[in-house]
Symmetry: C2
Subunit: 492 residues, 2 copies
C-alpha cells in the first residue's frame, strides 16, 4: 500500500490539538491514493509574521531575498487570509479546512479570555493531543511556544519532542537567551526539515512536511550568525534567518531534483503583533494587527512554489484562506475531501495551475464565536468593530499603534449590524474611508454581502467550544496588562 | 561639435522655471564631451505618485507589471527621497541638483502660502521661463498642471505647447472630462516620447528625455482603454496607464537596440496626496503624505534601468535623492558639475554600477526655509513637526488620514529642536515609536546628526526666495478649505 509520510517541525503544537485533529494528515493516510507518483507537500507556516514583512510585499528594508525569489519563481497571493487573528485557532483551521467556530477551536466568549490565554495553554502536552496520534508519522518540536523561562513545578519549561519522546526542555536543553534573543532553534528546525526531506526522497515515498516555525513570535530569537544582521533589529534577524531557511529547503528540493514534484506553500498564522511596537513585525499598509479582524490582523503573506507546475512570476487575485490548503492538498493528492462535515476552504488548483479566480463564499472574519466582518470580492463589511478594551489600551497594549480611524478602530465592542461599515479594499486597502450607506456602491454591494452572511449563519452548526477554559496561572504568567474582559462590552 | 538633444514631455512646467533653470540641460550643452558614444538619459518623473503605488513596493493590487519588471531587470532604491514634499520645488531641485533653499525655489514663509498656491501659479507661462530658453531643444507639454476648467479671461485654461508654439489649451483643444476623468493626455505623452526616441535614434545623436507626466495629480485622469480597469478606481486607472507607458518606452528602446546605451530612472516628485483620501495614491506603510516631511511626504519610488550596465534584480540601500540625478547624469555624460555653486546631490554611479553605498551628508527635509528633519543612515531626526493647521484639518483637509502619532503628527508647528524626535527607520519605517532621549541609541546617534545639521546650516547661503508671491485669484480658484496661514504658528 502506498503511504505518504507526514512530518511536523515546529514548536507551537498547542495550536492544533483539539478539534482540528490535523485532518489533512488523517484524511490522507486513511485514503487509498489512486496512483503512484504523488506530489510532495510542504506547508511553511510562520508565527505572527505580517503581510508587510516580506520584501515582495513592500517591506522597505528588503531583507527576504529567498522569499522574494520564491515569489518570482512562483505565485504570489496578495488577497490571502487566515481563519482567525490568533495563532491557535488559525492553525486548527489550516489543518482541518474548517472555520474555528465549526471545528470547535474557539470560545463562545468572543471578548473574554479567548486570545492570549488559549494561545499559550499547555493543553497540547497531554498525550491524547500528540501529533503522532493525529496522522503525523514524525514530529520534532514542541507542544507549545518557546515562552518562558518557567522554572517552577507548576509552570515548568516547555518540553521538546522527537516523535513520542521528550528530548528536553526549552531553556534547559535548548538554550534561549531572553536578554540577547540568541537561540539556535531555527537552525535546528531548518536542519530537521532538510534531513527529513533527504531521508524521504531516499525512500522514494512522497511526504508532507508541516514546517511551522516560530522565531517571529514574541520573544523573537535568532542564532548567532543572524543576530544583529538586520536593519530591523532582532525581529528582522529572525525574519532573515527564516528566509534563509526557506532558501535552504527549496535548494534541498532542487538539489534532490524533487522540486518539480513538490508543492510548497508559505504563509503565516495571523497578522504581525503590532502590540509589540517596534519589536514586532509589519502589516505593511494595513490597519491594526494580530487579534483584530482588520486587514492587519488577518491578511497574510502567501507564496506558492512548484517549478514546472505553477508558472513563475504570477500574481493570483484569488481570494484565499489558510483553510484552502486543506482542500488544495487533498485535491493535488487526488484524495476526496471528507463528506461528513462542512469544509470551508476551496481548492486553489485552478488558481495555481491556470491563474483562474474561483468565485467563493465570503471570507468570514471571526473573533471567537462572533462574526466581526466578511470580505466579498474587493469589498469588506464590518458587522462589529473592536480593537481592545479601553482598560487594556490605557495600560499600554495597543493593537493599532499610530493608527486611528474614527468609529472603526473602536475600543468598545461596537455593534454595527444595523448599518455595517463597508470598505472598498481596492482603492482603500487600509480601511480608512467608510463608504456612506447612501452611496450607490453601498446599496449595490451590501445586500449581496448580507445575503451571503445570512445563508452562512442559517446553516452554521457551531462546534462545541473547546477554548472557554482559562488557566489563571497562565494568565498570570503572561503578565497581561489591563483586563480583556472589562466592562466595555456591557456598555454596547 | 557633439551635442545632446534634450526634450521635455510634460504638462507641469511651472514646476521648474525660476531658479532651477534646468541646469542639467544647460551644463550639458555648454560642455564639450570628451568622447563620442555617450549614453542617452530618460528621467520619468511622476506627479504625486506614492512609494506604495507600485507593486514592487507592496501595492496590494499589484497593477504595475511594467514597473515591477523594470525593477526586476534593474535596480530598486527603497531609501530614495524628494528634495521637497511639494511638486514645484521638488522638480526645481531635480533639475538643479540643489536644495530649494539654495536654488531659490522656496518661500521664506515656511508655513504661509508656500504650498498649493505656488504649485499652481502660472509663472511658467511667461516667455522667459520657456524650456527652450533653458537648455531644452524640444518641448511638448504645458507650463502648468491640467487644472481647470478655467473659462474666464482672468484665469484661462492652461495652454499646451509644442516647442515655442502654443498648440491649444486643456479642455478646449485637449479634452478633459472632469466628470468621468477621461482624458487622452497620457497617450499623447507616451506617443510623443516614443516618437522623440525614434527620431533621435535615427539621427544617431544621444538624447535626454525628461518625461514628466501628471495623470496621478488631482484631478487624475485616464484614457478610455484604461478607465475602469483598475481595482483601485480612477487613480489606479491612471497608474496603470502610466505603467503601460513605461513599458512602451522601454520596449521602444529595446526595439531600437539602444537599451544598453540608455540610462532610465523612474521616480516621483513627492509623496501621494493623502488629502485626496481614497482617490489619492498610496504611501505604503509610511506616515502622512504630500506636503509633510514625514516619510509619506518625501520617500519616493525609485527604479533605475540600464540593461547590460546596471545589473538586474538588485536593491540598493544607497540613501538617495532626486537631486542626485543631476550629478549622476553629468557623471555618466562625463561632464564636470558646475563649480560655481554648492551641489547637494551625489553621483549614484557607484551604487548603480557596483552596488556600493556612498556615505553622504544627511538627507535634509525642508518645508519652505525651515529645516524640519534630517535623515542620517537609518535614523531620522525631526527638529520641527507639523502636518497642517487645526483650522485646515477641521475643514476636512487631512494629510495623515487614519494616522495619528501623538506629539509627532502635530497640528501646531511644534519646535522640537530642544530635544529632536529620533526614529529608527530600520525597525520603525512608519515613524511611530519615538526613541527616548535617555536611550543609548539616542545618545549615540543624535550628536552626529546635530553636528551634520550645524555644519549644513553654518555654510548654507539661502537663495533669494522666489516663491513668496501669492496670487489671490489662484488661491480662490483652488477653493482651499481652511486657512493655511492660521494662528497656530503664533502659538509655538
Amino acid at each position: 500500500m502506498f503511504s505518504v509520510r507526514f512530518a511536523l517541525m515546529f514548536c507551537a503544537l498547542s495550536y492544533f490539538p483539539l478539534a482540528a485533529r490535523s485532518d489533512i494528515a488523517r484524511s490522507s493516510t486513511q485514503q487509498s491514493p489512486k496512483s503512484a507518483g504523488k506530489p510532495n507537500f510542504i506547508v511553511m507556516l510562520m508565527d505572527d509574521m505580517g503581510w508587510g514583512d516580506l520584501g515582495v510585499y513592500g517591506e522597505p528594508n528588503k531583507e527576504t531575498p529567498n522569499l522574494d525569489k520564491m515569489a518570482s519563481e512562483g505565485m504570489l497571493f496578495p488577497d490571502f487570509y487566515s481563519a482567525c487573528p490568533l495563532c491557535s485557532p488559525s492553525r486548527a483551521a489550516l489543518l482541518s479546512g474548517r472555520l474555528p467556530i465549526r471545528n470547535g477551536f474557539y470560545s463562545d466568549n468572543a471578548f473574554g479570555c479567548n486570545g492570549m490565554c488559549i494561545e499559550y495553554t499547555h493543553l497540547g502536552q497531554q498525550p491524547r493531543y500528540h501529533p503522532l496520534r493525529h496522522g503525523f508519522d514524525e514530529w520534532f518540536g514542541s507542544s507549545n511556544c518557546h515562552l518562558g523561562p518557567f522554572n517552577n513545578r507548576d509552570t515548568p519549561n516547555v518540553p521538546v519532542f522527537r516523535d513520542a519522546d521528550m528530548v528536553g526542555r526549552y531553556y534547559e536543553d535548548f538554550p534561549f537567551n531572553k536578554q540577547t534573543g540568541e537561540a539556535n532553534l531555527t537552525q535546528i528546525y531548518i536542519n530537521e526539515a532538510t534531513s527529513f526531506i533527504e531521508k524521504q526522497v531516499a525512500t522514494g515515498q512522497p511526504f508532507f512536511l508541516y514546517w511551522a516555525v516560530d522565531a517571529t513570535h514574541d520573544p523573537v530569537y535568532a542564532s548567532p550568525d543572524f543576530l544583529g544582521t538586520s536593519r530591523r533589529g532582532i525581529y528582522g534577524d529572525a525574519v532573515r534567518e527564516l528566509d534563509s531557511g526557506v532558501g535552504r529547503i527549496l535548494q534541498t528540493l532542487q538539489k534532490l531534483k524533487v522540486d518539480n514534484n513538490t508543492f510548497v506553500f508559505f504563509s503565516s498564522d495571523n497578522g504581525a503583533a503590532t502590540y509589540n511596537k517596534a519589536k514586532g513585525g509589519s502589516n505593511g499598509p494595513f490597519l491594526c494587527g494580530k487579534e483584530t479582524t482588520f486587514e492587519g490582523g488577518m491578511r497574510e503573506p502567501a507564496v506558492a512554489w512548484w517549478p514546472g507546475v505553477v508558472q513563475g512570476g504570477q500574481v493570483s487575485f484569488q481570494l484565499g484562506s489558510l483553510m484552502d490548503l486543506f482542500s488544495t492538498l487533498l485535491d493535488f493528492a487526488d484524495i476526496p475531501a471528507p463528506s461528513d462535515r462542512t469544509i470551508d476552504g476551496i481548492s486553489l488548483r485552478p488558481a495555481l495551475l491556470s491563474n483562474i479566480v474561483t468565485d467563493r463564499s465570503p471570507i468570514f472574519l471571526y473573533r471567537g464565536d462572533l462574526l466581526m466582518a466578511a470580505r466579498v470580492g474587493q469589498y469588506k463589511a464590518h458587522f462589529w468593530t473592536w480593537t481592545n478594551s479601553w482598560s487594556e489600551f490605557h495600560s499600554g497594549t495597543d493593537f493599532c499603534p499610530g493608527q486611528e480611524v474614527k468609529g472603526v478602530t473602536t475600543h468598545k465592542q461596537t455593534n454595527q449590524t444595523a448599518s455595517p461599515l463597508l470598505f472598498d479594499l481596492g482603492c482603500d486597502p487600509q480601511e480608512k474611508y467608510v463608504i456612506p450607506p447612501s452611496s450607490p456602491i453601498y446599496q449595490q454591494q451590501m445586500p449581496a454581502i448580507l445575503k451571503a452572511v445570512k445563508e452562512h449563519l442559517a446553516t452554521l452548526k457551531p462546534g462545541d467550544p473547546q477554548l472557554n477554559w482559562c488557566d489563571p496561572a497562565v494568565m498570570l504568567m503572561l503578565k497581561l496588562k489591563g483586563s480583556r474582559d472589562d466592562s466595555d462590552k456591557k456598555e454596547i
